[in-house]
């Protein structure tokens, strides 16, 4: 498995970006080839989207997974998965026992595939994305297993959630209380979005972002991976809706070490080649800002 030498922010890609072409015009190896071209060294997959026969992949699939990681010099970074709370008709939340069954299954599979960070999606109960009421019991119940398998469960902080929100404060309080390295945060850069895209629905309507880059600094020790969300890369390699230079500066100045996993969220996802070009533009931008 490739071991990146750089300490600091590293460039990776979430296969989510390719979801408009996935299975129609691109397969897993096509995505890895693309990532190799742009010099990305880390990957996020979505368990429920990209692992064939999930949650029981075949040995052939596993072999192919490791072959691709080696061939294209890709480190498995983040394993996206869901604790599906609305699993049954008419039920808003899932009991802790069944939530844990799902979560533990993913911890073990993520470890088998070489991942160290889990993007753990908990169910939400309202428009500000407040997590299910039993989230503390669910995470507590899985901490031992996560430690044994050396993975960190990270909920994603995604707009409209702000860095300065009760949700983030609650997560930080939990991490401090249990002094755990197996629960942390994934920050989605969409929370810094400060402009709408032309002809494409998005937030914020009034142009004010949910969060500001300077708010990252105290949170850096809790962040284990980021979704380098982007919506629109111009031909001169600028992201027109999210302030990348300011965001990246916070991570670099704070001495943060980890992966930015590109997540394309703009239009034309199903036009062959469109997302690949957007990703390459974004990686040119990140490479220029980082200096490597």
């Amino acid at each position: 498995m490739a071991t990146p030498a750089i300490k600091g922010p590293k460039r990776g890609v979430s296969i989510y970006s390719y979801s408009g072409e996935w299975g129609v015009t691109m397969n897993l190896e096509d995505c890895f080839k693309d990532m190799y071209d742009m010099g990305a060294t880390g990957v996020e997959i979505l368990a429920n989207g990209h692992i064939e026969n999930y949650p029981q992949p075949t040995n052939e699939w596993m072999d192919n997974w490791f072959r691709l990681c080696t061939k294209y010099n890709i480190t498995p970074v983040e394993y996206g998965h869901w604790v599906t709370s609305r699993l049954y008709r008419g039920e808003m939340e899932l009991n802790t026992e069944e939530s844990l069954r799902m979560l533990k299954q993913d911890i073990i599979l993520a470890h088998r595939l070489g991942f160290t960070v889990l993007r753990t999606k908990l169910g939400v109960i309202d428009w500000v994305l407040t997590p299910v009421r039993n989230w503390r019991e669910i995470i507590l119940g899985a901490l031992d297993l996560a430690e044994r398998y050396n993975v960190c469960m990270c909920p994603e902080i995604h707009m409209p959630t702000a860095l300065s929100s009760k949700m983030v404060a609650d997560y930080v309080e939990f991490i401090d209380k249990y002094q755990t390295n197996n629960f942390g945060l994934n920050i989605d850069f969409g929370t810094f979005q400060n402009a709408n895209m032309p002809n494409f629905p998005g937030t914020p309507e009034d142009g004010s972002p949910c969060s500001y880059p300077h708010e990252l600094r105290p949170l850096l020790p809790y962040i284990h991976a980021c979704h380098a969300k982007f919506n629109n890369m111009s031909e001169d390699f600028q992201e027109t809706t999210i302030p990348y230079p300011e965001i990246i500066k916070e991570f670099v100045d704070g001495g943060w070490d980890g992966y930015f996993l590109s997540e394309y969220e703009g239009p034309h996802k199903d036009e062959p080649g469109f997302v690949s070009e957007q990703l390459k533009r974004q990686h040119v931008m990140m490479k220029r800002i980082l200096g490597y």
Partner: protein, 153 residues
């Protein structure tokens, strides 16, 4: 590979009993969502062909080679419908469909759990955003129509 649109042209044909009588038809769909779902998350609506409705009691779904009816699927929370697998919907219709073009509409969906109800519009008043969702809204909004115009040979 999959066809881009949700309702696949491949796999659309009449089905026959052992004596060769057409007893219905089948239509294949894929999920154009970006992730697979557990069978208990699938909400089955009507299949509509040229305006004729076939309810969930007239359908069975074949996923990974196993045939289920809608009620069975809603109880199966450990079996996963992967996004690269087409589901074959078998519809009971004595005599099958006539030769030629048909406007086919498949209604189904899944209520997400980590987002607000899909296709719901957030309350204008932001002070209402931290009020819990109405669970009924999820199932209602989840079911969407997917259409294709296809030929029975």
């Amino acid at each position: 590979m999959l066809e881009k649109q949700n309702v696949q042209t491949r796999g659309f044909h009449n089905v026959y009993d052992e004596e060769g009588n057409a007893i219905g038809f089948q239509v294949c769909i894929r999920s154009t969502y970006y992730k697979g779902v557990w069978l208990s998350q699938i909400r089955v609506g009507d299949v509509v062909v040229d305006g004729e409705h076939f309810g969930r009691d007239k359908q069975t779904w074949i996923i990974n080679g196993v045939e289920y009816d809608a009620d069975q699927m809603e109880k199966l929370s450990t079996i996963h419908w992967h996004i690269l697998d087409v589901a074959t919907i078998v519809v009971k219709k004595p005599g099958g469909l006539a030769q030629g073009y048909h406007d086919v509409e498949v209604n189904f969906g899944t209520p997400g759990s980590y987002t607000p109800p899909m296709f719901a519009i957030p309350p204008k008043d932001k002070s209402e955003w931290d009020k819990p969702f109405d669970i009924e809204v999820f199932s209602k909004l989840a079911v969407r129509p997917y259409k294709n115009r296809m030929i029975i040979v």
